[in-house]
Amino acid sequence: MHIPVEGFMYPNEVELQWSVLIVLYPFITGLVAGAFILASLERVFRVQAVKPTYRLALLTALSFLLVAPLPLQLHLGHPERSLEMYLTPHRSSAMAMFGFVYLWYLMAVLLLEIWLDYRRDIVLKSQTAKGLPRLIYRILTLGSDVLSDRSLRIDERLGYFITLIGIPSAFLLHGYVGFIFGSVKANPWWSSPLMPIVFIFSAMVSGIAAVMLLYMLSSRLRGKQIDIRCLDKIAQYLMYTFIIDFSLEMLDLLQRIYEADESFRSLDFMVHTRLWTSQVIVQILLGTVTPIALLGLTQLFSLTESIRKRIYAVAGCLTVIGIFAMRWNVVIGGQLFSKSFLGYTSYKMGFATREGLLTAIILMILPFIILWILVKILPPWTDEESTSASEAIPVHAAS
């Protein structure tokens, strides 16, 4: 495959090492971390308004987290050796800890929190369901089917404690992903102490936007009324987080422009040519400034409910696109220029290849399929609680 090169690249640099799959990796883990942090708003910070999205946010985080290692596995030259990262991790490597951070987050935080939160529902369903669902719910109880007041209180307390641990863990998960890039001193596009912080805030932005959109979409699909108070609150948090994220990115940019070190001219040229569309147009103008401005409108003016909903939908979509573009510009942009600062290469994405567009699309659809299954097994809807409560045995009401 001929790769167009401009100027001079070291001969081994012409081919890009990290493909669109590595773009998906921080994008997906970002959604996980962001969705979890939104969920923790209700649990830890007692923001009651966002309660309708609490369980949906947790299930969204789990769906994406289950898919997160797949792009990495598909990318490895020897995926069959990936277990070595657990067995013989190289402690000085920023990448070696991924497996442990991932497992910690999956097993110790997310699965445990979801299980504790749903345990009451699972036990009730294991008693009322029939056939295969009954078997599934019985397995999911993990043998813990006591629903006394005391045991439910323990669930609640433990869940709260795990969310407390979960918040720094979510920060760790995505800040760590940022560190994988930010610690590469050979690459001035990546090398920045701000990278983990920017990754954390952009993760929160994308996760909040994604859950907001999923909540709106699921309400529409179920023919239920959207809780506008909840939506307003989420949009407000989205805007605040986005402003912090954008300020940090601009701070990084200003620093680079003002310092203008040896790499600046080369990177500046790249932004004005190869990255112009994906960075300036899509990421900054369309994916950041526009949604912030739209969300700002809802704060400044009293708009009708239906207009607000439309604005939130558009702003949410643009936000997710903008954050994806940010990941793209970090990962792909960081490989388009030569470390000699004398030339540029191009990224040619295949279609039906192992690391091609089709694989990326499938990997992005997969979390939604998992979410759909999870929602079927563990319905997260709070507006149906009253109905299910009436069907449930008295102990539910007692809780």
């Binding site: 001079f8 690249m9 070291y10 001969p11 081994n12 640099e13 081919e15 090492q17 990290w18 990495l72 990318h75 490895l76 030259g77 020897h78 995926p79 050796r81 990936s82 070595e84 990262m85 013989t88 991790p89 190289h90 000085s92 490597s93 920023a94 990448m95 070696a96 991924f98 994988i180 590469v184 001193k185 050979a186 690459n187 490989q335 030569s338 470390k339 000699s340 600062f341 004398l342």
Partner: protein, 243 residues
């Protein structure tokens, strides 16, 4: 278990065959070589390099380097006095077949052979998630291709563009400083064939190595010293425009 003479006679050849299998899995032996007595690097004299490409060809042949990838390569610099920060650099096919005549007589032209710098504090070995790439006790950065995951983090971490993913093995690949040769008392393939002696293998731990005299009497530099990688490929006569 009692071992009779007859049984022993049957077992011995089997044990000998098994021992051969065990030996086949161990590295080639270099009985007189002690890793603790060496600290390898390389000296490159830019003023001597004629850009013939012999080193690149020899390296590719010696180490079975696939086409389009380079364990070593040569860059030709063209620097004019008004654009010292923007040199024109080219390396067609890594300089493997030499370079076409440069018609531009303005400014200066020179060749810069490149290879892994076998850094003492190498960022590539630092980032490897499983330690498949490492600095040997005698100062050579090596890759264990039977252990490498092919995650490419090391390729990203090398500031000099020395690493690539070998399409035959799907693992990281780079200059090994012809480790299989130098541990037997030979020099590297590239230094062996260099017609002008522009490349010299250097043993920094050997007090009798001429490198010490050379370093004392010449003004040598390393590539990208601000990266603080402890590079051990020393360049004599290197222009400030070299990246």
């Amino acid at each position: 278990m009692d071992i009779t003479r007859r049984r022993l006679l049957v077992l011995l050849p089997a044990a000998a065959v098994a021992w051969e299998f065990v030996r086949a899995g161990t590295p080639e032996s270099a009985p007189n070589y002690k890793t603790s007595e060496h600290w390898w690097g390389m000296l490159i004299d830019i003023t001597e390099c004629i850009g013939c490409g012999s080193c690149v060809r020899a390296c590719a042949q010696e180490n079975d380097v696939p086409d389009g990838y380079y364990r070593t390569w040569i860059e030709r610099y063209h620097v004019t006095d008004y654009a010292i920060e923007r040199p024109q650099v080219e390396s067609p096919n890594g300089g493997k077949e030499g370079f076409p005549m440069n018609e531009d007589s303005s400014g200066k032209n020179f060749f810069v052979p490149k290879l892994c710098n076998h850094c003492a504090d190498s960022p590539c070995t630092q980032v490897c998630p499983v330690g498949a790439t490492f600095v040997s006790p005698d100062g050579v950065v090596l890759v264990d291709k039977n252990y490498c995951l092919g995650c490419r983090y090391c390729v990203q971490a090398c500031p000099y563009g020395c690493r690539f993913i070998n399409p035959k093995t799907n693992t990281a690949d780079k200059c090994s400083l012809c480790y299989h040769r130098i541990t037997k008392g030979l020099t590297t393939a590239c230094a062996e064939v260099c017609p002008t002696g522009a490349r010299q293998l250097a043993d920094l731990k050997n007090p009798k190595d001429p490198i010490h005299e050379y370093l004392r009497t010449h003004s040598v530099q390393i590539l990208k010293p601000h990266m603080a990688t402890g590079a051990k490929v020393f360049y004599n006569g290197m222009d400030g425009s070299v990246r």
